[in-house]
Symmetry: C2
Subunit: 587 residues, 2 copies
């Protein structure tokens, strides 16, 4: 392959696009890989589509290697199967819904569990047919509330999704493990710096899942790691539950005047000023902060919810959201306060919270709020707090919820040491679906004893178009993109400089010879474009090896530059093809 | 590649699907290539997706060979560009329209002229950038009123669409010609039996277009050919206009009682019975039949239209539809009659038809109705016709329309002899768009003299998923599909028969050796399946070469069968790999 810059449909840009704020978005637009068509919807230009297809090839090869078989479903899907699993409703506003000319309900598929389940049900009926893994590489749709960062979170995107079907949980674990190993190979080949973390299963449901996160400061996901090897998406972190605390010697709870203390800071100051402790000063961790939100359920109903967390921690919106899915979290508004007159804004406490108390609002607390813990919290009267309120003695919440923020230094739930947090981009997600879909849609097979058993399923996703951006997030510098060779649009960016015909003739010959040797060449054959512009373009576009044919030609040498290290060296023109072929084969 | 039938996701069916009425639909479902997901929407099973991808590869190679560059647009597109060209409205009910969560209007792209035009406008500005050809292979959507014949006319389908951009009409003709030649190569490689015909441009607009039709009895399109080389879609046939006829000696028109003659047949009988001609009997061709329809315009307005054709010809619905696009043709109902009391049902004539006459209904006639022609036609009174009514003397229509059926034996418009009609499947369509889109969307470049000129465009489509079905329509027999080698899911269908381990061992070895030699093998390694079932499956699935390893093994021979000819011969096992490699290379 020889791509010529003189005719390539490409215009590099020196300015960042105004709507871009992450490097991958800026660079992919500037280097002519993608172009915005609508919010969260992008077109692929020639170089971008090459990279996308290179990634598809890697994914396809590794899926085929574990015996998964490629199929292809429509993107436009009938409502009924999604109705059967309740996802037509649960997906809420994220689902693009379409009516056809006859008024029939369709959707643009965000994921295809239902369709795969029905297809297998349609064709297979015996344990002898299993195990089976099917996959597709396909365009998917989600009407994101906030599409962002170019193709990192778009509304139309390409995914590889696969589904495994097994006759038992034991057999399923082998399919799951095979996928997990294939994913490791895929992300290694993509050159991504990534971690595998325990995750929440979200809209897929099922019992457990793991995510492959590309490590990136601009990632939307936060994950934690411990020195002992624990790793989880922050959404999935389980707080270690402390042992109950004896409280026999705790005085009875007492309500005190605490005027003008609607915040934790003002409250702590007031406590230390008016009710000093003998052992140590009061801290935010001694207070119990009660946060009110409204859950909007997929059926449209609104439910108020109170969350109690230690006052030194915020409620983490994403952890909360992950816990209440498919409901959406919305603010508790002034109208909501008006509807609940027992709530004293700024001084709300367990006295009125809870399904059996005056407000009737469900009350869930942080798992650290175990029996015997002592708290200062709102007394449900303006300007008053209650001190020495003991969990299990003075109040009993409706349950616990993992909604408090996780902080560096928090202990890992498995005792493997303190957690540190970092950010990542979700590149892959593997789900142990169990029998959620097979039960809902009736996928059963006859087992060895002639008995009908419900099939155990897994589903497995890779963000194929997102990988293009994630690789750039992982691999770029000030000057532009630095592609790993296997996904790069070319192996060699051959730059002919100057005005000398001999240079262009030599470069042309070299391009032809490299092509014949199986090296993919992007050849900057433009006349009348300065060397400076050509060099800038080559750094921006990011092909791993840059070859310059120019002044050195008089001495029979060309320059070979490594895009990543910046290292340059002169190579004899005669030896160039051999050297470059070796370089490209080495990866 | 070795595909094993023991694990391949495939269940062949012995019965035709109940909703299928053309061979390709029946066979593709029975042989496990596709599966219905919703009306006009299909899923691709493993073998089907392989064939689809093989076709994509052929199309991609031939597009790249003419220097067209591959890009990829979204399928979910914003309304605005389609609004600018009026196609948001003109597409009518055929467009899938989608609202996003914010109420924004989107569509599922049926074709991408607007998006390509805007992209080129975005990046290019000079004649030096041209010529340019871009293409994509992409999923498209049309909400067909009557999806039919499986993937022959679906609502979600794969097309290759390309677009050329040139600075002048002369330059454009070179791009057009290059595409035309690439299409010839594509359809040759697909093994299709096809014709190239002049066509109507329909929803694309533009000045001229040609279609590539796969010749097939089940095709939706009718085309005509003459011995002298004229070829056109019947929609595009122009009727040769006869010279005006002298009418000085024609008697004045006279109204006669013709009771109970609401049809042409009853009228002709009555004329011969009561008003016999001296020279010859009256025939249907002497009568002028007036047909009423209603045009439903894209903006929802309804317009009645009267069409006058010689009584021996029917109005051809598809020819009429092609003429009035983007309006849709609907029946003229009883309510419409009620709204036009001057119309005497069964006896309608030019006395009231025409924008300036009593009904006010636009009246278009067949081009054969030239000045001086004499007609018997309705007298606009129940039970009466008018005889000797002369066009140009006694009535003047509002214009002509190409709506009458074309029949075998009609003269070709270019004088190249009598036409014969046949049916075909539209596989490719190449359009001379001219400046329709570049003008509407402002795509202009600076020419050599620094003057802004509007770009001349072409657009070019290939039905990629439709090709899968068209090839089957062209190439099948009673037993199943017969794939041309280049699109077949495998080169060799290797069948191991019997229960003997030695047979399976030998077949396994042969499969491995063929694979190593680059031959794609579908290996029927199923144990416990009878030879009869395996042979039936191999014929149904349609791989071009069937190799049977069975009883002959004792004598060191295997059987090689050509799927198309049915010819079988024995080949020494030792020589099998060499022979089969040669066979596959020969195509």
């Amino acid at each position: 392959m020889v791509l010529r810059m003189s005719t390539l449909f490409l215009r590099t840009l020196r300015e960042d696009p105004v709507d871009a704020d992450v490097p991958s978005h800026k660079l992919l637009v500037r280097a002519g890989y993608i172009r915005r068509a609508a919010p969260g919807i992008y077109s692929w230009l020639p170089l971008g589509y090459m990279v996308l297809r290179n990634i598809e090839t890697i994914v396809r090869e590794e899926m085929n290697a574990i015996g998964a078989q490629e199929v292809h479903f429509p993107a436009l899907l009938p409502r009924e199967p999604y109705e059967a699993t309740n996802r037509w409703e649960e997906y809420g506003d994220s689902l693009f819904r379409v009516k056809d000319r006859k008024g029939g309900d369709y959707l643009l598929g965000p994921t295809h569990e239902e369709m795969f389940t029905l297809l297998v049900k349609d064709l297979y009926s015996s344990y002898k047919d299993l195990p089976l893994s099917l996959y597709q590489i396909q365009t998917k749709y989600r009407d994101e509330q906030r599409p962002r960062a170019g193709i990192l979170r778009g509304r139309e995107f390409v995914m590889k999704d696969s589904y495994s079907f097994d006759v038992s949980d034991e057999a399923f674990m082998r399919s799951y493990q095979a996928h997990r190993e294939a994913y490791i190979k895929i992300f290694d080949r993509l050159g991504l710096d990534y971690v595998i973390v325990a995750a929440m299963s979200g809209a897929m449901g099922g019992s457990a899942s793991e995510e492959f996160l590309a490590i990136a400061d601009n990632g939307e996901d936060t994950y934690v790691r411990s020195p002992g090897g624990y790793a989880a998406n922050v959404e999935a972190v389980r707080t270690p539950v402390p042992a109950p605390v004896p409280y026999d010697d705790v005085p009875a709870a007492h309500v005190e005047d605490t005027p003008d203390t609607p915040t934790i800071d003002t409250l702590v100051d007031h406590l230390n000023g008016h009710f000093p402790r003998s052992d140590r000063p009061w801290g935010a961790a001694d207070t119990l902060k009660n946060v009110l939100v409204v859950l909007r359920h997929p059926d449209g109903t609104r439910e108020p919810l109170a969350i109690g967390v230690p006052g030194d921690r915020e409620v983490d919106e994403k952890r909360l959201a992950a816990q209440v899915e498919p409901a959406e979290v919305q603010p508790f508004t002034d109208e909501d306060f008006a509807a609940h007159p027992t709530l004293a804004k700024g001084y709300i406490g367990p006295g009125v919270l809870g399904e059996k108390n005056a407000s009737g609002i469900r009350y869930l607390v942080d798992p650290r709020v175990v029996e015997g813990t002592r708290w200062v919290t709102g007394a449900d009267q303006h300007g008053k707090h209650v001190i020495d309120l003991v969990a299990g003695r003075d109040f009993t919440p409706d349950g616990t919820i993992e909604a408090a923020e996780v902080r560096d230094g928090d202990p890992a739930p498995d005792g493997s040491g303190p957690l540190e947090t970092a950010r990542g981009i979700e590149m892959g997600h593997i789900f142990q679906l169990g029998r959620k879909y097979s039960e809902a849609l009736g996928l059963r097979v006859l087992d060895e004893n002639g008995k009908l058993v419900t099939v155990t399923m897994g589903s497995y996703g890779v963000g194929v178009s997102r990988a293009v951006a994630a690789i750039v997030e992982n691999s770029h510098d000030e000057a532009g993109i630095i592609w790993p060779r296997e996904v790069a649009p070319a192996d060699v960016h051959l730059v002919a400089t100057g005005k000398d015909d001999a240079v262009f003739d030599a470069a042309e010959r070299l391009a032809g010879e490299l092509d014949a040797a199986g090296v993919r060449v992007l050849y900057d054959d433009r006349r009348g474009v300065s060397p400076g512009v050509k060099f800038k373009d080559s750094e921006l576009v990011g092909v791993p090896t840059i070859v310059v044919v120019g002044r050195g030609l008089a001495d029979g040498v060309i320059e070979v530059k490594d895009r990543r290290s910046g290292e340059r060296r002169e190579v004899a023109l005669d030896a160039a093809v051999t050297e470059l072929v070796d370089l490209c084969r080495a990866g």
